[in-house]
């Protein structure tokens, strides 16, 4: 039997990044994936005969440059070109849409000249402030209990960056940091379509409305991501999100990573406070010096390790991680491309957002606080087959949309609620793309309950834990244990539940692997 230095649980993109990085550092690594294929929430899947779609994550906004570089992903088939950057289109029922071109609106069209110049300034400011936070993405969070010289120096760099902003800007950065996005937008912008789009992006994937305190952080998180070296840029990967995973996988296998699919882990074996191996559902036992869990942190600690091996205080913290998803994913197989009112051909290849105003987003959020879905949901729509015809039969079209708000714990239960929610979504789509309803060959709606069941994501939350101020940085996944290592020696966390969080970035996986290497694990 081959022996491994490290076993990575979970073949999602972070697990694969961690595995590949460790393998490149000379370790023998085994990845265990429960499903029949790797990729987790970043897969390209068939959902109707001839139709393929990025199953959960569908827009690439933040694949970390260090991941691309470390794993040489471009050598392994990943293609990122400036020409692939897609615009964001704020859809409008009455009148032409507003469009952010290039990397998050380098150029704004569809609004007044004065709004354009205000946006230019606001965009520059948002990028500047997000840039302060950006270096945190690729490091482990500051450890308040004791930092190495290098870590202290890195934190000093951030302080220096703040100082470099100048007195006024630094004050403003600190003033707005924990604001809600709606208030900030109201300070500066006039166009409710632009404000609606930004309010949507700030709250996408979290249980927050634009008027919830700290909602601006979501926008910073979004803009701290970059694609092809351009902050805020977004693209649809050719071949769907599965193609990104395929490149990471190829890099890993080149470095010697062994991957086993359909191998769900039942238990992490702990002896005398140290993780020494895993037991599979099949009963097979595999041992290794280092165990890396790239699945959900709560599932790792509560289910695989089990509370008996962990201190009570830690269990309390883990149980308190908020991770109830509030976003659903819609896949439509259409017999022809839809026509969104007022949108040109280039726009249809972009990211189409239904969020007509911050108030609309807030109103969509309100019912979710009380366990009800939004009667008029907000959504982010892509038509990936328009730029990648391989995803749909000729002449047909794939629609992929993230739809909010869809509370995990729906009061009436998702069995009863799902058809009603789909109806509400379709009504919303129909009003922006008349006739779309008649072109639907097949519809797949994944509620948080479905995402939980199909993707092993507790709460159906794609960040594996709400990405809000209290669950970020040194508080992610829990305070005191944000450095990827855990109270169990030899057990590390490498998934989106760890700093910096979710989205197809690979950053948690990369940071975890670096930490393991630094700790000689």
């Amino acid at each position: 039997m081959t022996s491994f230095d490290a076993i990575v649980i979970g073949g999602g993109h972070n697990g694969l990044v961690a595995a590949a990085t460790l393998a490149k550092a000379g370790r023998k690594v085994l990845v265990l994936e429960a499903a029949s294929e790797v990729g987790g929430a970043a897969r390209t899947k068939d959902f109707a005969p001839g139709f393929r779609v990025s199953s959960i994550a569908h827009v690439l906004t933040r694949l970390h440059p260090d991941v691309v570089k470390t794993l040489e992903l471009e050598k392994h088939g990943l293609q990122i070109a400036r020409g692939d950057f897609m615009p964001s289109v704020a859809l409008s029922k009455d009148g032409p849409p507003l469009v952010l071109h290039g990397a998050y609106g380098e150029v704004l069209t569809g609004s007044t000249p004065s709004e354009q110049s205000v946006w230019k300034e606001l965009r520059a400011q948002l990028m500047r402030y997000a840039g302060i936070l950006k270096p945190f993405l690729s490091r482990r969070p500051p450890d308040l209990a004791g930092m190495s010289l290098a870590e202290t120096a890195a934190l000093g760099q951030t302080a220096l960056a703040l100082k470099k902003l100048g007195k006024e800007d630094m004050r403003d950065f600190l003033r707005v940091l924990l604001m809600n996005v709606a208030d900030l937008l109201d300070e500066q912008l006039a166009d409710i379509r632009l404000k609606g789009l930004l309010a949507f992006d700030a709250t996408l994937g979290s249980h927050l409305g634009p008027r919830s305190p700290t909602s601006l952080l979501g926008l910073y998180y979004r803009l701290a991501g970059e694609t092809g070296g351009a902050a805020g840029a977004q693209m649809l990967p050719k071949g769907g999100m599965g193609a990104v995973v395929a490149a990471i996988r190829a890099a890993g296998e080149k470095a010697g990573v062994t991957i086993r699919t359909a191998a769900p882990v039942a238990k992490i074996i702990v002896e005398k406070g140290r993780a020494v191996g895993v037991a599979l559902d099949s009963g097979e036992v595999l041992r290794a010096r280092t165990i890396v869990s790239a699945i959900n942190p709560a599932a790792t600690m509560l289910d695989l390790v089990g509370p008996r091996e962990i201190d009570t205080g830690f269990i309390r913290k883990v149980k308190n991680i908020r991770m109830k998803g509030d976003a659903a994913k819609l896949h439509l197989a259409l017999d022809r491309p839809p026509q969104f009112s007022g949108v040109d051909a280039a726009g249809h290849k972009g990211r189409l957002v239904i969020a007509p105003s911050p108030d609309h987003v807030e109103r969509a959020f309100n019912p979710s606080k009380y366990g009800e879905f939004s009667p008029e949901p907000v959504m982010e729509i892509t038509l990936p087959s328009l730029s990648d015809p391989s995803l749909a039969p000729s002449g047909a079209c794939v629609l992929s949309a993230v739809v909010q708000y869809a509370p995990y714990a729906l009061k009436e239960g998702w069995d009863a609620g799902k058809p009603k929610f789909l109806k509400a979504i379709m009504a919303q789509l129909e009003s922006y793309a008349p006739g779309i309803g008649n072109s639907v060959l097949h519809a797949e709606l994944l509620t948080p309950a479905d995402i939980e069941a199909n993707y092993r994501m507790p709460g159906g939350h794609w960040h594996h834990g709400e990405l809000q101020a209290d669950q970020m940085l040194m508080s992610r996944p829990v305070s005191g244990w944000s450095g990827y290592n855990t109270p169990i020696d030899g057990l590390f966390l490498a998934g989106a539940g760890s700093h910096p969080g979710g989205g197809v970035s690979g950053a948690p996986g990369l940071n975890a692997a670096r930490r393991i290497i630094a700790m000689k694990g």
């Binding site: 406070g273 509560l302 089990g306 008996r308 962990i310 201190d311 009570t312 269990i315 109270p487």
Partner: protein
């Protein structure tokens, strides 16, 4: 002018100011205790009205050492912990190896938070293979319930429903035997057994907080008064006396036993970061069992030991002279402050001036020479400052053969 037009009776005055009353619960024994309380010297024990003394604290102490003393321990926090996983649960929560605690036995233990700081100490009674009673100073239900996640176990507070009595002293065995608890002579130290009482049962354990021959008795609250009467009647000719805490506190100090939140600050009560204590820092390091499975704080304790981060040590002191050094500061070479006395007395049994103190390591640990305590003694309205030599000595300060003698002696 602002004087009272009519003088009310003092009772009426008190009644008119009922908002000044401190509401404290009575224990199931309260009617009997109230009847004996000549000194009216009460304190608050976990929300209960408990006596510091009842009639004479000196004589109450000697009742422990020469007769039989009856002390109401009902306010002690008690939890029933029951279920198939009760043993595994307690093994994870507490420091000692619970799998080694056989049914019918009791052990003294302690438990820690994640950081290895002591939350409390207490006694664990194994009533059956699957049923335990945990007794402690502080309340811990939320902690115990959160610790029970993943264990098949029921945890229930039984402080109110179970009454407790400590019967301590050389004649205590004879009192129980004469009260008709057949077979009680078979109990060795830390044994427990159930005996019939008043149509129900009483759990009697050969345990106590005095270092003397003694027993603790637990009954359902509604049988409390009849148990008291039964013991008082049988003990009449053997000098049985009800006592308060002051007397017990002296006996426990002679026995070298520590009291949570008197000799150390429990982790959930400590406000200042340097007041937290690991087991090794309060003399409970012997409980830490690294051979058993995981328990709360294991990682932290192991880390602190490996990195030599234990900062304090709890020691017994023998101090020259006969003036108790209560809360005196301990010095090295008469000038460097190295610790504090948490309990002190002139011990009539040991005929020594004894104390328990917490010192900052290495003092009391590897450096035990040239230690002094500064005692302020009031002599006719003037403090006299005494600098007295202190010697680190082993605890207990007294060792009584009758405590462990089998069969227990009949006095």
């Amino acid at each position: 002018m602002n004087h009272q037009p009519t003088l009310k009776s003092s009772k009426a005055r008190t009644a008119a100011q009922s908002h000044f009353r401190t509401l404290r619960l009575g224990t199931p024994f309260q009617p009997h205790i109230d009847a004996l309380a000549k000194t009216q010297d009460w304190y608050n024990w976990a929300g209960y009205r408990a006596p510091h003394s009842l009639w004479d604290e000196e004589l109450e102490y000697f009742a422990i050492r020469s007769q039989a003393a009856l002390f109401d321990i009902s306010p002690m926090t008690k939890y029933r912990i029951e279920g198939p996983d009760a043993e595994a649960f307690l093994d994870r929560v507490t420091l000692r190896d619970v799998t080694k605690l056989k049914p019918g036995r009791v052990h003294y233990t302690a438990w820690c938070d994640d950081e290895g700081f002591v939350l409390d100490d207490g006694t664990l009674f194994r009533l059956s293979p699957t049923r335990f009673r945990l007794c402690s100073q502080e309340r811990h239900l939320p902690w115990l319930l959160d610790s029970a996640i993943g264990f098949n176990v029921v945890i229930e507070e039984e402080t109110e429903t179970v009454a407790g009595l400590a019967l301590q002293g050389p004649t205590s065995f004879a009192v129980l035997r004469d009260a008709g608890f057949a077979g009680v002579e078979k109990l060795k130290v830390f044994d427990l057994a159930e005996f019939p009482h008043d149509g129900g049962t009483v759990t009697i354990s050969r345990t106590g907080f005095t270092g003397d021959l003694g027993y603790e008795l637990f009954v359902p609250a509604e049988k409390a008064l009849s148990l008291w009467d039964r013991l008082m009647t049988s003990g009449e000719l053997r000098g049985i006396r009800a006592i308060g805490y002051t007397a017990l506190n002296r006996a426990r100090l002679e026995a070298g036993l520590i009291v949570a939140n008197a000799d150390f600050t429990t982790a959930e009560h400590a406000i200042r970061a340097d007041r937290l204590r690991m087991p090794d820092e309060i003399g409970l390091g012997f409980m830490v069992d690294l051979e058993k499975g995981h328990f709360n704080g294991r990682r932290a304790i192991l880390g602190a030991r490996a990195k030599r981060k234990l900062r304090y040590v709890l020691v017994g002191l023998e101090i020259e002279g006969n003036i108790p050094a209560e809360h005196a500061i301990v010095y090295h070479k008469k000038h460097q402050e190295v610790g504090l006395v948490s309990a002190a007395m002139w011990s009539p049994m040991a005929k020594r001036n004894i104390a328990i103190a917490s010192l900052a390591r290495p003092y009391g640990d590897t450096m035990v020479e040239d230690l002094w305590v500064e005692i302020y003694t009031m002599r006719e309205l003037q403090y006299q400052k005494l600098m007295k030599r202190a010697k680190v000595v082993a605890r207990p300060f007294i060792k009584l053969d009758r405590r462990t003698a089998n069969p227990p002696a009949d006095f």
